[in-house]
Symmetry: C2
Amino acid sequence: MDLAIEDVDDLCVGAALLGAGGGGDPYIGGLIVKRELAAGRRIRIVDPDDLADDRLVIPTAMMGAPTVLLEKIPSGEEPIRALQAVEAQLGRTADATMPTEVGGINSTIPLFVAARLGIPVVDADGQGRAFPELQMETFAILGVAGTPMGIADEKGDVATLSIEDHHRMEWIARGITIRFGGTAYFANYPMSGAEVKRSSVKHTLTLATRIGGILRTARSGRRDPFEALTEFLATTHYSAARRVFSGKIVDVDRQTREGFTLGATTIDGGPDGRCTIDFQNENLVARADGEVLAIVPDIIAVLDAETALPITNETLRYGQRVAVLAIRVPEIMRSPAALKQFGPAAFGLAETYVPLAADGD
Amino acid sequence: MDLAIEDVDDLCVGAALLGAGGGGDPYIGGLIVKRELAAGRRIRIVDPDDLADDRLVIPTAMMGAPTVLLEKIPSGEEPIRALQAVEAQLGRTADATMPTEVGGINSTIPLFVAARLGIPVVDADGQGRAFPELQMETFAILGVAGTPMGIADEKGDVATLSIEDHHRMEWIARGITIRFGGTAYFANYPMSGAEVKRSSVKHTLTLATRIGGILRTARSGRRDPFEALTEFLATTHYSAARRVFSGKIVDVDRQTREGFTLGATTIDGGPDGRCTIDFQNENLVARADGEVLAIVPDIIAVLDAETALPITNETLRYGQRVAVLAIRVPEIMRSPAALKQFGPAAFGLAETYVPLAADGD
């Protein structure tokens, strides 16, 4: 299926929502992709289940602090150079690329790469949302090697890593990203079609596009966007979603440190008290009155109270009226091995993961 | 010429002296090489002037804080993996290796690599002493590309860099070295035989061996080692050497920070007052009574007052009786371009470089 230019904004909005506050601004991501399509290039999206087992898929993405990205616009060639560094190490060219996560920017980087290289994008990813670190991938959990990994900056510099341990790959790549100036583009987890089918969170590009479409339709006045969204998500592998808090943003504590955007958002809900959301690029836990409303790996998205459009953490501002939507993640992301990689303890949180209950649960 | 096991200690002592307080401990370097020779492996040293123009030479070395090296012994394969990463990028195997600097450890790493791979070592290097940073190389000054560069740690991890700017290569490689745990092994500045002849400081392995031999002979009681050393150096391209201070070490301020060993040594000279030597891995400037005794790029070596054996900065201790020997570096290291790369200003020092005057000057 070819990506239509009319679908790009929907895809970016849905991806930003699933990005849980991180994953970069959907506006920039959308611009990048629409420019390619307007120039007559094709972007073909393929179903992971249709991939031949022996195909080589090389995922591509951006890493670093989204706050920095706003001031450090890419030249465009970075993720392609990163992918080519991996190809050179493997001595083989990629048959397709794929997102590593869902997010405003990181859902679109592979689309850009695909347009430029004339290869398809697989409709799947390794996080089913956005997470801040490279080892937090279903790919890693299900036995895919993280390297060779290519990392490129906007100056034409490229680093190639060959590191066995997934955490150490993250540690070294993060160090390089910091010294590259805070953001970098990368390609890692090169894998076979068989590995994609076994280890990915499937159909997340089409899911994001559907979410964006539902919000757009609701905006045009026919229904409550939260109701429409919740109803739709219940029919997907993201089996449950619920608005867990509403109010006005009264504080955003945000720092760029260690290569991440770190901080907390406080929302005043009037009679409902206050809700605080801790984040490391992505929202990790939402608490109100000492009670956990939602926690990783479940998705915590801060949305505009009226339109349900997602607000990424680098654009949160005092006074915005918002609603907090929590979404239960698919089964593949809730196994004991998955929780070890990106459950509460992986972020230093003491609470145990309890999957979000749906309204009807 | 084959390196003889009897020459190894001389080479390491001389290299530690030319290492200007840095470059790593000569004892560890000597052990590594003697083990190879005792196992029956050959180490062939070739004169740079005898190299065919089209030969591929890949220098190998260690980087990081020498203080850390004392506690983090290499597995042995690291510099070989770094060199092989460069070979893979170039699609060609090395005809020889070479030191990047002179120093207790870094003069011996290429000898080890040569023994294991059965390739010769070129009798030359890119610093004519030791310097703390990767862009501080006559190779860089005379137009040799720094990358592809391979960096390896003791866990089997390898990073390969492709970076045009020499300072940025240093910045990124230093960041990786810090995250690798403080030390790493590398191969960079791959070059042709023609480039070696044009850009290297020549015959520094044989020079180090001669220096070690002179000190050993003097120790056996026949002459004053400082006199013997000064007399010999005057006949080499290091045209002048002089004992600029003597006394007792009364303070060593030493920190491991930003991937370097940083600090200052204070020597009490009794009636001669106090001498302070600032270092960043290597000694940068020796001052007494507000006067500069010697300054980079000239070599400042702290030697045992009796034996003239060099004391590297990580082994300096309170109470040691020492003499400070200054050595004027060869012409190739004193050009305006060279001083820009490793003269006083490159280290943030305000003083102008004045080459050391010989006693007879």
